[in-house]
Symmetry: C2
Subunit: 413 residues, 2 copies
């Protein structure tokens, strides 16, 4: 397995501002990996509110079950994340492991186990040795501080080649509030309700109901609009925590999702979500190309999205991109197989700015040279105009390379 | 691109019996390939009846449109197939090309263009130079004979590494009748109504209505139960022709699909379809493993099939198989993402005879050695028991290797 950083990685990381009410630390618990951090503990001040979205898999992991069950409480005091083992399809042992984990952390933090949020990522089906957390919890709580968000993001990586962070500071009722987010994911990426793992934090004084509304409204165009390999994880989790610390600086406490003062916050939050989602695509296993698929003129936005995902998930489209081959016929194929309304003879397709097909056939002015030049770029935009209605959607994916096969042919060992 | 024959190819080919009423020849028209046959003409005696099933793609090829339009006539006098160019997404030029092709062949054969069936396979989006058929048609009709079915199958190959033929002889009303079939396909294989290309012939005196019923009933468990890469072709076509020549030997002419004398014919026909479908999987691009996915205990057969295809189409399941990794956690993932009723905690999974998971967790007697031994086999059976109902389905696929990526990264050039 290659350990080189993805060529699509961001060239710089943002300075992540301090986020009042959040302290954290990482540790090496030896869950699976050796010589690297694999546990992240985030401590949240009393009063922190929480919202979440999760995988739609019928076989969700034990931590997903745990978070879902506790979310109605709306209160959170800590988040414990481990990499190396997903605690998925682990049956009664899995349930016991999350209960033990929450108990260990709850005791160290001094709160109810139900206020502890848990996430695990890694191999499916191996029992998780939660007792290993006991050995590192005192060190974690002792060290927890307003530390390096990059280190936090690094501790939750599996096949990721770079840590994923994003931040925005935005006005809320005349007071600047901050949103910091981290994420992990590189393979088994076709989120249906959330993504692999993403944790978002704000000091804005927002109620759990507001957080849930903001989070649910953002996920469709961000984490649910990316795919690496069409495979949906058992562990997809996105959690949004609000410490409310900004209330001390005069930020208004908001508990009504319809409050107009949320507008800027919603926009900034979506930007953080989209940034993190695109970073996951940029770290897609074996990826060498970042691909945007935009579908326009569909009968509805939902129809446009299904067609866009059909293109973005097609192995033949993705291998052609890997080979820098302007094989737009495969885009036609992927539109055709989507099962959505489409009229072959109205279809037009662009690679970048080059229109390659129009009115159901190759563009009369088609230039292989121009199309091939687009394919050599690192960032490729495929645009499809259906000519049927006003439905649009944009999704992001990467190419399918031999490296993807190599990485996934021997992941467990 | 590798030209080696797939290691999964059949070790022997059947002796294909003469099929009265069918004569054929192949030629090199230079459509795309050099130094190999790329055109097949099959001549059918007067009175031949025909049935067909086609891709459900919303962007079907021009030959698919042509065959669909003529099928209600029920009569066929010739089949012209070319490889190298799919005549798909070719607009008005594509329609003109099929009309010209049918006219050239109809004139040579002495029948109406509507009795000429056409199929094309190869690159999508390139105009097809149908005038090239004019240069070879006299030679084809002159040479047409009860020749080598392997040669016929070879002329329609694209990325296939071996020709695909199958045959059965079966009793119809006390008289033996023959079914001969050929097929091509190796990539862009996830048939939704038919397969890439398959042509089946019988001397049984069956009406077009009977043929359509027999063909439609067989396709679900054969061509529609295989996948190489989840990508559905614009050109999928299966045509069944009956010359009726066996009537001279006393076979009964049957025009009612409910006729009980069809039972043995139906069974044999399905066997031919399944044999050809499995050969396509055995020639899956880059394939090194032949994989059977059997799902049992689903709420319905349709639900079982969707779950089986979710497993068979998963890049992570297929790369694990390529890597001989007994990663049954990915099977759990694929069950979970299928969107069908499934209860994680009732799930059991077998690799070959080795039960690897039961009751929602790893089998208590799990042996990595035993599971790994199964993965080293060439033919791997993955069985999933859902424990919900009586629904079952079996589908076939292959592994996903680096070779698949190599083959498809530079297909057009």
């Amino acid at each position: 397995m290659s350990t080189a950083v993805s060529p699509l990685a961001p060239k710089t990381y943002p300075d992540m501002p301090l986020l009042e009410g959040v302290r954290f630390a990482t540790a090496e618990a030896g869950i699976k990996y050796k010589g690297r951090t694999d546990v992240l503990l985030m401590l949240l001040d009393a009063g922190t509110q929480v919202a979440g979205v999760f995988t739609r898999s019928r076989c969700p992991s034990a931590p997903v079950d745990w978070c879902r069950a506790n979310l109605p409480g709306g209160a959170a005091r800590a988040l414990l994340v481990n990499s190396g083992n997903a605690n998925a399809f682990t049956g009664k042992k899995g349930r016991a492991a999350v209960e033990l984990s929450a108990e260990i952390v709850g005791k160290a933090v001094g709160c109810a186990p139900e206020e502890i949020y848990l996430a695990s990522t890694g191999v499916i089906g191996e029992p998780l040795a939660a007792e290993k957390f006991a050995g590192v919890i005192d060190g974690l709580t002792g060290r927890a501080a307003a530390g390096s968000w990059l280190d936090a993001a690094r501790a939750i990586m599996t096949t990721d080649t770079f840590p994923k962070v994003s931040t925005r500071t935005v006005d809320l009722g005349g007071v600047p509030v901050t949103i910091n987010g981290i994420a992990k994911g590189a393979g088994m990426i076709a989120p249906d309700m959330a993504t692999m793992l993403s944790f978002l934090f704000t000091d804005a004084p927002l109620s759990a109901a507001v957080l849930q509304d903001v989070l649910s409204a953002s996920v469709g165009g961000s984490f649910n609009a990316i795919t690496v390999d069409s495979d949906t994880s058992t562990s997809d989790t996105a959690l949004l925590f609000a410490t409310g610390a900004a209330v001390k600086r005069g930020a208004p406490a908001i508990s009504d999702p319809a409050d107009a003062r949320l507008a800027a916050f919603r926009t900034a939050f979506f930007e953080v979500m989209l940034d993190l989602a695109q970073q996951i695509v940029r770290d897609g296993e074996g990826a060498r190309k970042f691909v945007e698929v935009a579908v326009e003129g569909a009968q509805s936005d939902a129809s446009a999205k299904r067609i866009a995902l059909s293109i973005a998930n097609s192995p033949l489209v993705k291998t052609a991109i890997a080979g820098e081959d302007a094989n737009w016929g495969r885009v036609v194929m992927a539109v055709g197989k989507a099962g959505e309304p489409a009229d072959r003879d109205r279809l037009a397709i662009w690679f970048g700015d080059v229109r390659v097909a129009v009115d159901g056939e190759r563009d009369p002015g088609y230039s292989e040279t121009a199309a091939s030049a687009v394919m050599r770029e690192e960032h490729i935009v495929i645009r499809v105009e259906l000519g049927l209605g006003a439905g649009t959607a944009t999704v992001w994916t990467c190419d399918l390379t031999k490296e993807y096969v190599a990485i996934n042919g021997d992941y467990r060992s």
